[in-house]
């Protein structure tokens, strides 16, 4: 059978609508469609399921997943102890809850975890993380509200080194990336951590709300400029939002998604799987 070497306009329109509807964004959608057209021109396709697998293939290719830095089994790299994770992101995305989930999972994997409550600004932020520390049975370093977040981070890392923690997770206050002084504060927290452990933080985890639109790209850009983001977590994917904006971010900044949040309980965290993610974009 001679295969088709171009895709029908109608199919392309449907694809464009599905991708944009998933928050993939115009530019990235146009790029995906171009890649598919090039691929089809070269390899041809016989039926819709072949076309679908070409589509899924091209989208997966955009997602960055390097095996050495995935958290399969919640293991941490040998020789990096304590392994320090700094959690950042704009307001209300799910940083504190994600930290609770990470604490639970690392503990289940046999790691000694220590939490740092470096959000000393938002009402009851320390109380909130303390409840997660109680729930997961993981120790927490905290100071009174209004304390310098850099001081809490410093305190936490020093304490983690002293007690032989395997993993240290530092919570920070939500902040909008266009607030220069708040982004500078984040840079300062990072430098303070480096004073204790020169190659820490080993992971700067930017948490994104799964229902955020194209502004997430700007968030990735600005947070990377301030602290060199090394991984993404996408939360609230248990709702109807698809989180497609991570494709635009992967395409532009090559930052890997490592975790997805699928609920509010400590068990509701999944290691990012690009096959499942691409499948869900089209459900």
């Amino acid at each position: 059978i001679a295969g088709k070497s171009t895709v029908d306009e109608e199919v392309l329109d449907q694809l464009e609508e599905a991708l944009i509807g998933a928050d993939v964004g115009l530019d990235t959608t146009i790029e995906i469609i171009k890649r598919i057209e090039d691929r089809v021109a070269r390899d041809k396709y016989v039926n819709t399921s072949e076309l679908n697998s070409i589509l899924q293939d091209e989208i997966r290719a955009m997602l960055v997943v390097s095996p050495e830095n995935s958290y399969k089994d919640f293991s941490t790299p040998a020789g990096k102890k304590p392994y320090v994770i700094l959690v950042v992101g704009v307001n209300g995305v799910g940083k504190t809850t994600t930290i609770g989930k990470l604490a639970y999972n690392f503990t289940k994997a046999g790691k000694n975890v220590l939490l740092g409550a470096a959000d000393t600004f938002r009402a009851a932020a320390v109380d909130q993380l303390t409840i997660w520390s109680d729930r997961t049975g993981v120790p927490i370093v905290k100071q009174p509200m209004g304390s310098d977040p850099g001081a809490v981070a410093f305190d936490t890392v020093q304490s983690g080194v002293a007690r032989g923690s395997d993993v240290i997770i530092i919570d920070t206050a939500g902040r909008l990336h266009n607030k220069i002084y708040l982004m500078e504060e984040l840079g300062k927290i990072k430098r303070v951590v480096q004073k204790v452990i020169p190659d820490a933080p080993h992971e700067v985890l930017l948490v994104l709300d799964g229902s955020t639109g194209q502004n997430a790209v700007e968030q990735a850009k600005q947070f990377t400029a301030a602290t060199d983001v090394t991984a993404l977590a996408i939360t609230k994917l248990d709702g109807t939002a698809k989180g497609g904006v991570v494709l635009a971010i992967a395409n532009q900044f090559k930052i890997p998604v490592k975790f997805i949040g699928v609920g509010e309980k400590m068990e509701d965290l999944l290691i990012f799987d690009k096959h499942e993610f691409v499948d869900s974009l089209f459900k």
Partner: protein
């Protein structure tokens, strides 16, 4: 800017020429692109630009105004019209007046409740805040801190796992203590969570609110239509609050929501401090969405 890009699309049109189907095609595409980039829902962006096209067709291009500028003006006016339109009131007469706050997780409801209490107090009301989020860790503590910061009492029942009861008891408390406005903060919930949507619908039927405000994060993307529709179907809310407008998101979700549920945007929140509650300005929002 959009008007510069539209200018480019119109570069061969001058003088007494009319806007026609031919010379408008590229422009309509640019406008739709700008809206989708701003997170306006894909389908709504198409319907909106079709409407703008109809308004523009046949319009004469006067010498003093460039076609690009004219087009931008039509788009901006139409956007502002869509988002402002109805004069929006705020019903706080009742014994007590009851305001129910609802929305997705993390949208800014608790912070907004504190701001609203502060605002109403400055208008001479005696508000009572109600901590009806029985799920989120330290939710009650959070509202109590905010209440403390603005000098407004917070009603809570730490041991009660029934949000409907807490809301009902709060109304009784308000009457006993001469509080004339009750602001009920509720837990963030997903529109697809049947149990939680039933809970908030039950709170509504139990306390009969004078105002039900749907609090939404202004950086929400294409999903804004789905959640607004679902919350409106269950609650028939009376107004929308857009939060985190101090960010740099274009905020197209505002248009998508207004277009879909046709409920007024009553307040905007543009900061974390409790004095940053603002009135919604449709023309400013239109300008922002267009970038």
């Amino acid at each position: 800017s959009l008007s510069e890009r539209l200018e480019g699309a119109f570069k061969n049109l001058k003088g007494e020429a009319k806007i026609t189907e031919l010379n408008i095609a590229a422009t309509v595409k640019e406008i739709r692109r700008a809206l989708v980039d701003a997170d306006v829902n894909y389908k709504i962006a198409k319907e909106f630009t079709d409407k703008v096209k109809d308004i523009a067709l046949g319009t004469k291009v006067i010498n003093a105004v460039s076609p690009g500028q004219l087009m931008t003006k039509i788009v901006k006016d139409e956007l502002a019209n869509l988002m402002g339109g109805t004069e929006s009131s705020f019903n706080i007469t009742g014994n007590p007046a009851v305001i129910l706050i609802a929305g997705l997780q993390g949208s800014g409801k608790t912070t907004f409740s504190g701001k609203l209490a502060n605002y109403l107090k400055s208008k001479g009301k005696s508000p009572l805040l109600v901590a009806a989020d029985i799920y989120r860790p330290a939710a009650i503590d959070q509202l109590m801190v905010l209440g403390g910061q603005v000098g407004v009492e917070v009603y809570s029942e730490r041991e009660n796992k029934n949000a409907v009861e807490i809301a009902q008891n709060a109304i009784k408390e308000a009457r006993a203590k001469n509080k004339n406005v009750v602001i009920i903060d509720t837990a963030g919930r997903l529109a697809v969570d049947e149990v939680m949507m039933t809970e908030v619908a039950n709170i509504k039927s139990a306390v009969n609110p004078h105002e039900i405000l749907f609090v939404v994060d202004s950086m929400t993307g294409q999903d804004a239509v789905n959640t607004a529709k679902a919350f409106n179907e269950r609650l028939d809310f009376s107004g929308v609050v857009l939060t985190k407008l101090d960010g740099d998101t274009r905020g197209g979700a505002a248009l998508s929501i207004k277009y879909t549920v046709e409920k007024p945007i009553k307040f905007v929140s543009s900061g974390e401090k409790l004095d940053t509650l603002d009135v919604f300005y449709p023309e400013r929002m239109a300008q922002r969405i267009l970038g």
